[in-house]
Amino acid sequence: MADLAGETMNGGGGGGGEIKVGVGGKTRVGEEGGVGVGAKIRVGEEGRVGVGGKTRVVDLRSDTLTYPSLGMKTAMMEAILGDDVLGEDPTVNALQERVARLLGKESAAFLPSGTMCNLIAVLLHCDRRGGEVLVGDNCHIYRWEQGGIAQFGGVHSKSLKTHPDGTFSLTELRQAVRADNIHFPRPSLVCVENTHNMEGGKVLPLSWLDELSVTCRELGLPLHMDGARLLNASVSLGVSPERIVRDFDSVTICLSKGLGAPVGSVLVSSAAFIERAKRLRKGLGGGMRQSGVLAAAGLYALQHIYPRLSEDHKHVQIIAKAVNECVGGAVTCDPSGAHTNILMLTCDPARITPAQFCTRMEKVGEGEEAALGERVSCRLISINDTTVRLVTYKDISLDDVEALVKKLVYVIKGIA
């Protein structure tokens, strides 16, 4: 039995975790998972710990599972704090300024979540009665925010058909922006999502964004970008975030996803818009006190995690390539469609449904340990009746990716 020293970190997922072990001497836990003499041990779902023979859990359900590293937590604890409702938290102020600068906008507001950022943006842009927002029919605001904009803002959504690349037709947009007629709500805002989550983390083409902004200017409509994973888009394109959002009136950016902070998102726009946003934030209940403790994690993330986002993209490519090489498999994917840290796997429902596939990937089947050399459990999410999504992030190491690939190939080959 190995001597256990150092920290236990919950690596996400039910019961999953990781313990860094040093046999004798001192062990320092680093971001990558620590170095020391001794084995890296995964705590399996049974919760038992020991050397060897236990399950490696690779949890790819979402990049929201990112765990704050020791360095990040230390930064959080050393942050200077104040009451942010009184505008006195210097760490929150520093984060807001930093993000505004990064996106080339005047001002920013630190909020508890991306949902609240989008909600506030829509409610502020559509602050007169009878307004309508034009959105892609597969975007997060339309599908995954519980219809908050209607429930709280009285805002109607006009959905536009989303193309597989995450864009929508500008012709359809023009047609949807209807003339002033007593039967119609008033178009008040156009929203886009970049990277587009449900389309597989797709990066919207810069040329399309530029055309879109010209169109919206002609139509007299403001533009909001749900840029929850904007920095993934920026890294993928090799273009600054500022350039991507140049023509957008407001932008949401999440710190709690691939950037690895435990909590928080930022809404970015003009100074006047952000002042109104802070007001609405308070009304919604998002006014936090010494939230610098969370903002510090965001600052740390921008400094240390943002520069390594391309690793997550590389990992997706490794996985995609391996799946693609299983010719004739029941589960397929398109590596060229994987722009960032998200991969969509398509299941042939006649052979295996997404739900069945997810269950199979999570289970350690008979003979599998012998075949793979270790027990591997992978957690994925079934999106609809043909698609499974996986998301890479900083806590998924290359080792994990290799284990996942072994398992994927094994499972796919095992499907009739």
Partner: protein, 532 residues
């Protein structure tokens, strides 16, 4: 009088209380309405010295048995050793840090890596030696609670700043931060954060309700409670006309919840007439009326001066609500304070309530967070609302851990805040002034309301004066004391004690209050006209 006006905008205080940030100047802008009246806006530049010191990390290098004799180096995590506290070089400034691989320099107020050579290097540094000499020319103890601030003219001042604006200004202590660091986390949106779950279970149990939900703020907690109770269209809530929910939540119930309200007159003790409640309940067959769906009570009642609501009245209200078939919600932002004041458990106070909101970020000292407490079914709906409002957080256990620590370590000492509040009120009473008055028996918890006569002084002026230091004053008191308070009306100044207010702060604040009141009492007639 030659008054030097110090406006303690938050940033001026923080560099001394927290750790260092990157060197440079922080320019603090005007403080806008921090509340009604607010403090006086002014520009103050605070000079913050230095960045964070730390030792170099050594990397692990492959061991090679080569003629070049490459050394194998291990990454060390040196832990703090208590025996160092007895070493001469470390006395007077060294204490344990927030984690066991850190140390803390009380003179520089800085976290350092806990390596003996690192600490020796720090102690020999010019900046440390200068500070050690300046802060106290004689050897230890180092005075706590003083802030070094540089004014617009570049003059340094050592001030005692007593921030009584609100108990929301509480900062997490080192031990609280340690607990936050050590918390096990998960994604709470997937309901996988064990620390959040522990907190929710703990608070539900404490209030003897079925379940609880962790939310970012008290405003959201109350909003969620109202909306959950008023799940259907056309609802109306009966709420006290001096309550926080009615006055200070930005009309969220209407704006966000589409819920109408009907106010009932709050009595000075925070209660309202139960007979009047009956009269306000709507006739459900009347198509002109919304449907009464909820009755709200606030305990302790903040605007009434932090008054703990009498237990028997709470029980009677509960009985009335049962009779009327209406749910009862308690805005218990400072419920634990009420529990301490009444000498009864929080569960007993809210026995008749269907839902409760409770704040961790006020007197309990956590950096953020509140809870909604109710039945399992209620909390399931509340969770849904929390998500759509944007309060679904991910690894929020890191802040929930602060809440847990607060319940263990801060809640048991809340009576001290009440004692401190009474001491402040007492000091004002002892002046027998007509300019500034307070009723000692109104001080139930950690809130003191000072009433200004509006002739010699009004609330805004009193706040300004308390935040200023004159030359005569600092000569007489031998101390430069700044008391920060909030004007909550034209004639009322509110002081709120909390866990960051120490005995020394209370002593200084009482001296300051007496001095300032004395000044007003001695004011000549001509000055009345000028000051007001």
């Amino acid at each position: 009088m030659a008054a030097m006006l110090f406006v303690m905008v938050g940033g001026a205080v923080l560099p001394m209380l927290g750790s260092d940030i990157e060197g440079g100047s922080l320019s603090m802008g005007a403080l806008e309405d921090g509340g009604p009246g607010g403090a006086v806006p002014a520009q103050m530049t605070v000079s913050v010295e230095e960045g964070i010191e730390g030792g170099a990390e050594m990397e692990v290098v492959e061991m090679k048995h080569s003629p070049e004799k490459k050394r194998r180096v291990r990454i060390y995590s040196q832990k703090f050793r208590k025996e160092w506290l007895h070493l001469k070089e470390f006395q007077g400034w060294l204490t344990e840090g927030i984690t066991d691989d850190r140390a803390h320099c009380t003179v520089c107020d800085k976290e350092l890596l806990a390596g003996k050579s690192e600490l020796l290097k720090h102690s020999r540094g010019k900046k440390h030696r200068t500070r050690a000499a300046k802060s106290n020319p004689n050897p230890p103890p180092v005075q706590h609670g003083l802030s070094r601030v540089i004014d617009e003219d570049g003059m340094p001042h050592l001030l005692r700043i007593v921030d009584l604006r609100s108990d929301t200004v509480t900062q997490p202590s080192r031990e609280m931060k340690k607990a936050m660091m050590e918390a096990t986390l998960g994604d709470d949106v997937f309901s996988e954060d064990p620390t959040v779950k522990t907190l929710e279970d703990r608070v539900a149990q404490m209030l003897e309700k079925e379940a609880a939900l962790f939310v970012p703020s008290g405003t959201m907690a109350n909003l969620i409670c109202v909306m959950t109770h008023c799940w259907g269209r056309g609802s109306e809530v009966i709420v006290g006309d001096q309550s926080h929910l009615y006055l200070w939540a930005q009309g969220g119930m209407a704006q966000i919840g589409s819920v109408h309200h009907r106010t009932i007159k709050n009595l000075p003790d925070g209660t309202f007439s139960l007979n009047e409640v009956r009269g306000l309940v709507r006739d459900e067959h009347d198509p002109q009326s919304p449907l009464t769906s909820l009755i709200c009570v606030e305990n302790p009642h903040h605007n009434a001066g932090g008054k703990a609501i009498p237990l028997n009245w709470m029980d009677e209200l509960g009985a009335l609500c049962s009779e009327l078939g209406l749910p009862l919600h308690c805005d218990g932002a400072r419920l634990i304070n009420a529990s301490v004041a009444l000498g009864t458990s929080p569960a007993r106070i809210v026995q008749a309530c269907d839902s409760v909101s409770l704040c961790l970020n006020k007197g309990l000292g956590a950096p953020m967070g509140s809870l909604v407490i109710g039945t399992k079914e209620f909390i399931a709906k509340a969770k849904r609302l929390r998500k759509v409002l944007g309060g679904g957080l991910h690894q929020s256990g890191i802040v929930a851990a602060a809440g847990l620590w607060a319940l263990d370590h801060v809640a048991p000492r809340l009576s001290w805040d009440h004692t401190h509040a009474r001491a402040l009120a007492q000091s004002v009473c002892e002046e027998h002034s007509s300019a500034v008055t307070v009723d000692l028996k109104d001080v139930h918890t950690n809130v003191v309301l000072l009433h200004c006569d509006n002739i010699r002084v009004n609330a805004k002026k009193l706040c300004q004066r308390l935040a200023s230091v004159t030359d005569e004053e600092s000569d007489e008191l031998s101390e430069q004391i700044v008391v920060m308070a909030l004007a909550i009306s034209d004639t009322t100044v509110r002081l709120v004690t909390h866990c960051d207010i120490r005995k020394e702060d209370v002593r200084s604040a009482t001296r300051k209050l007496k001095y300032v009141i004395h000044e007003y009492d001695n004011m000549m007639y001509l000055e009345y006209k000028i000051s007001v």
